[in-house]
């Protein structure tokens, strides 16, 4: 598949950057002329992945979050990566309402949202090395 446009960004694992990451992805995806619902879905999924990198990956300590977006004819691919603690058990992590940080009022719905709000979710993680989330979203309105 031939890409139309691509970008890579890295930013501090600060919670103010959750909103920033959403704006960046939305502005880039806008080039494919998505519907408002497609855009909202994408922003929500990205928000989940970036928040997870901050809270779980880096456990709210300093770190760098890497994000990559590739535009295709009628699809956007977004990769969100951290070099944090990694996920112990990916299958468990995907279970709706499963969370390792209930004390932070996490709902355990992050992966469920990423899954149902996109058209493809891939989770790669290695303990002590980090986590890489790849999401694909079809854009019909182009």
């Amino acid at each position: 598949m031939q890409s139309i446009n691509k970008m890579k960004i890295e930013f501090d694992s600060k919670s103010t950057n959750e909103a920033f990451a959403r704006v960046v992805v939305a502005a880039f995806a806008a080039q494919l002329d998505p519907t408002l619902e497609e855009l909202t879905d994408l922003k929500t999924a990205v928000s989940e992945a970036v928040t997870n990198a901050i809270i779980h990956g880096y456990e709210q300590r300093q770190g760098i979050i890497y994000m990559e977006c590739v535009l295709y004819d009628s699809e956007i691919k977004v990769v969100v990566e951290d070099k944090g603690v990694g996920i112990e058990d990916i299958d468990k992590a995907r279970i709706p309402a499963y969370t390792t940080k209930p004390e932070l009022e996490r709902s355990g719905l992050g992966f469920s949202i990423m899954e149902s709000f996109t058209d493809g979710l891939e989770i790669e993680s290695s303990k002590g090395k980090g986590t890489r989330i790849t999401m694909r979203k079809k854009i019909t309105n182009s």
Binding site: R22, T40, D41, E48, T51, L104, R106, S107, I113, F117
Partner: protein
């Protein structure tokens, strides 16, 4: 840059919190304590979250709502969500929070 604004209105034991802006991990962690303090100080029996002007919400919003629900419940009160708009209804729906409280 104000990403989330809250305004409150109290009518006897009913506390209404109007949320305006984006509900994510960053903004919810800032308003949690404010709301909890209000619940504590004003012997609230019913907490109403008015979400008409919420322009974005992810699962951190769900965590915040569930957390306030548990708190109000521990004081013997209850909670409802008002004016859930189109942007947030999809997230609300899949959270199953409608089994805990009335959403209108």
């Amino acid at each position: 840059m104000i990403a989330l604004d809250i305004t409150v209105k109290q009518d006897r034991s009913v506390l209404t919190v109007f949320l305006k802006g984006e509900l994510d991990h960053h903004t919810t962690s800032k308003i949690k304590d404010t709301i909890d303090l209000l619940i504590l100080e004003s012997s609230v029996k019913m907490l109403v979250l008015d979400m008409r002007e919420v322009t974005f919400m992810d699962s951190s919003g769900i965590g915040m709502i569930a957390g306030r629900y548990r708190r109000v419940l521990s004081f013997g009160g209850s909670m409802t969500i008002k004016n859930a708009n189109k942007v947030i209804s999809k997230v609300l729906k899949m959270s199953g929070i409608n089994k805990l409280m009335k959403i209108s």
